[in-house]
């Protein structure tokens, strides 16, 4: 799952060319992923992990880094 998410961000969502994305890299504050990108990322995760992301789960604590996202998926 980790690699799938990273390669999706790198190939589809990143607003600049990046060689590697660290699992602890801040996706939101850095501007690496924009608002539309976050909507797409949530849909991607819903499909890949077969979970439903509730609106109230759209928080920085759940989506700031790839690491946060993986922990969120594991809790679901």
């Amino acid at each position: 799952m980790k690699n799938k998410i990273i390669s999706y961000i790198k190939s589809k969502l990143a607003t600049e060319v990046v060689e590697e994305i660290d699992i602890n890299e801040d996706l939101l504050g850095s501007g690496l992923v924009d608002s539309l990108g976050m909507v797409q990322l949530v849909l991607f995760i819903e499909n890949e992990a077969n979970i439903k992301v509730a609106p109230e789960d759209m928080t920085i604590e759940n989506f700031m880094t790839v690491n946060h996202i993986l922990k969120y998926i594991a809790r679901k």
């Binding site: 939101l28 504050g29 608002s35 976050m38 109230e56 928080t59 604590e61």
Partner: protein
């Protein structure tokens, strides 16, 4: 109280009267008015020491953060003009703006290092970076070095209210960037009129989600200091995560919120508004786009104690009209943009620039203290955008032609009817694209919509509606087409309907119809 003529005097005044009052806050970081006064003197002193002269342009390349307040006021104190750059824009476009303005100095923070490095690879007039120390590059200086400057020999330059203060670049509908020039006078006029209109006071806490290059940032950076209030700068991350934004507005006890409607709609849909306490919220202001009435009604019911106001104004005037929504709207009709505020008058013009008869549709033209000085480096475009009424030989009244279509309702309020250029001719029929959008929005399954024309020549042009469905809506294309047939004249029915999970947007959050048509055209190839 002494009179104020320039923007830096806003900070000086509060720093003198209430030095410890909090000026800006960004999460756990905070800066008082007296600290801001000193640090901006230090930045101004540095700018003057490297040769920045009155009227020179200085660029600000930052995300929303505490240092933006120092960059803005430090530049202004040096007598220079600040030019905020969109950090999300393609870097060759950013370089084009830097060259258009002949900018030598860029103010930034360490978080933008990767982008600044790439930007410096573009050919530009930059020869100095403030806010980060760069290796093997042009001269640069860190913030800490700025803040250790001694001010014994610092002599502030004389600034007049008609001096240029900032230039805002907008992409413009034709795609060529326009630099909108504002003076200390137009910026300060905006602050004074806004403070009168809404009765802001020193207990207010302004939520500022706008980036510096977007004109609503004038509220957080100028209006709040005029009344001695505090501005909370909203971090980028919160704007992407509505549930976190909701918690932040509540926690910071924000009393004045001003944003595009989109952010408020996202808050509404975050389903967190019942979880937090929003009792401190006094004013909810919105502008930049039409607030879809059904969403506005829902939000007003969630926040019954706040007052809601619809503001309108192109960046050339910053703002010019307002409408305080008296109660949750009963119907889905769009709400008015209201009346012009203080120190402002208007005309509604027909195609020959004559006044229309009462109640007729025409282009809105505005004369105001907040009117821009003109477009940077583009005299002919400035002339084109203005409408001059000769009162006597040698004395004109100058109006700005907004390019927006309006009419008066029977209460004397202005109704916004869309862009002048969103009215097209299709097979001989005059089609208002915005009107088609408003019709589709009445459908309960439609959350947002963009109606576009594809095809260059009139014979092959087609209407396309792109729809973002409401949450949990099970959209049926046949049923939606039926709805169009009932609600619209036959020539205004979209040939095709497409669906998108969300729209591409401009950096200010507006739907980017240009990007959508690009996407559609690529798909069809």
């Amino acid at each position: 109280m002494k009179s104020i003529y320039t923007l830096p005097q806003l900070i000086e005044n509060v720093a003198r009267a209430s030095p410890n009052r909090e000026a800006f806050r960004y999460l756990e970081e905070t800066i008082s008015y007296s600290e801001l006064h000193k640090k901006t003197d230090q930045l101004a002193s540095y700018l003057i020491s490297i040769g920045i002269k009155k009227g020179d342009r200085v660029s600000i390349f930052m995300n929303r953060c505490l240092e933006t307040s120092i960059a803005v006021y430090g530049t202004l104190k040096a007598g220079a003009v600040y030019v905020p750059l969109d950090t999300a824009a393609p870097l060759h476009k950013t370089a084009a703006i830097i060259n258009d303005c002949q900018i030598s100095c860029l103010i930034t923070t360490t978080t933008k290092r990767r982008k600044v490095d790439t930007l410096l690879n573009e050919k530009s007039t930059l020869n100095r970076v403030i806010g980060d120390t760069l290796k093997n590059s042009i001269p640069s200086v860190a913030w800490d070095d700025i803040f250790s400057i001694e001010l014994d020999d610092y002599i502030p330059p004389t600034i007049l209210e008609q001096d240029l203060a900032f230039i805002l670049y907008t992409s413009g509908s034709t795609g060529v960037p326009k630099g909108i020039m504002h003076t200390h006078y137009s910026g300060l006029s905006l602050a004074k009129i806004a403070a009168d209109t809404y009765d802001f006071n020193s207990d207010d806490i302004f939520g500022n989600p706008a980036p510096l290059h977007f004109d609503p940032s004038t509220f957080g950076y100028f209006v709040a200091p005029l009344v001695g209030a505090t501005t909370v700068i909203i971090p980028d991350a919160h704007l992407k995560m509505p549930a976190s934004l909701s918690a932040l507005i509540s926690k910071e006890r924000i009393t004045v919120w001003y944003s595009v409607p989109l952010m408020l709609i996202q808050l509404l849909h975050s389903e967190t508004l019942d979880k937090h306490d929003f009792s401190s919220l006094r004013w909810v202001l919105f502008a930049g786009e039409v607030f879809i009435t059904k969403h506005l009604r829902a939000l007003m019911k969630k926040w019954p104690n706040a007052r809601f106001s619809n503001l309108y104004g192109p960046a050339e005037l910053i703002l010019c009209t307002y409408y305080n929504v008296p109660e949750p709207p009963k119907t889905d009709e769009p709400i008015p943009i209201g009346k012009v505020w203080n120190n402002t008058e208007y005309k509604i013009l027909d195609q020959n620039n004559n006044d229309v008869s009462k109640g007729e549709i025409g282009q809105l033209a505005i004369r105001s203290a907040t009117l821009m000085q003109g477009y940077w480096n583009n005299k002919s475009l400035t002339e084109q955008s203005l409408h001059k009424v000769t009162i006597a030989s040698g004395y004109d009244h100058t109006y700005y032609k907004t390019g927006d279509l309006v009419k008066l309702n029977n209460l004397g309020e202005l109704l916004f009817l869309g862009r002048n250029d969103r009215q097209i001719k299709l097979r001989g029929y005059r089609v208002e694209l915005d009107e088609i959008e408003l019709t589709l929005l009445k459908h309960k399954d439609v959350e947002e919509v963009a109606v576009l024309v594809l095809g260059k020549d009139e014979e092959v042009q087609e209407l396309v509606a792109v729809i973002k469905p409401s949450k949990d809506a099970s959209i049926n294309l046949t049923y939606l087409m039926e709805f169009c047939k009932v609600e619209l004249p036959s020539y205004a029915i979209p040939k095709t309907i497409e669906f998108m999970d969300d729209f591409p947007r401009t950096s200010s959050g507006k739907i980017s119809r240009k990007e959508i048509s690009k996407l559609l055209e690529e798909h069809q190839l």
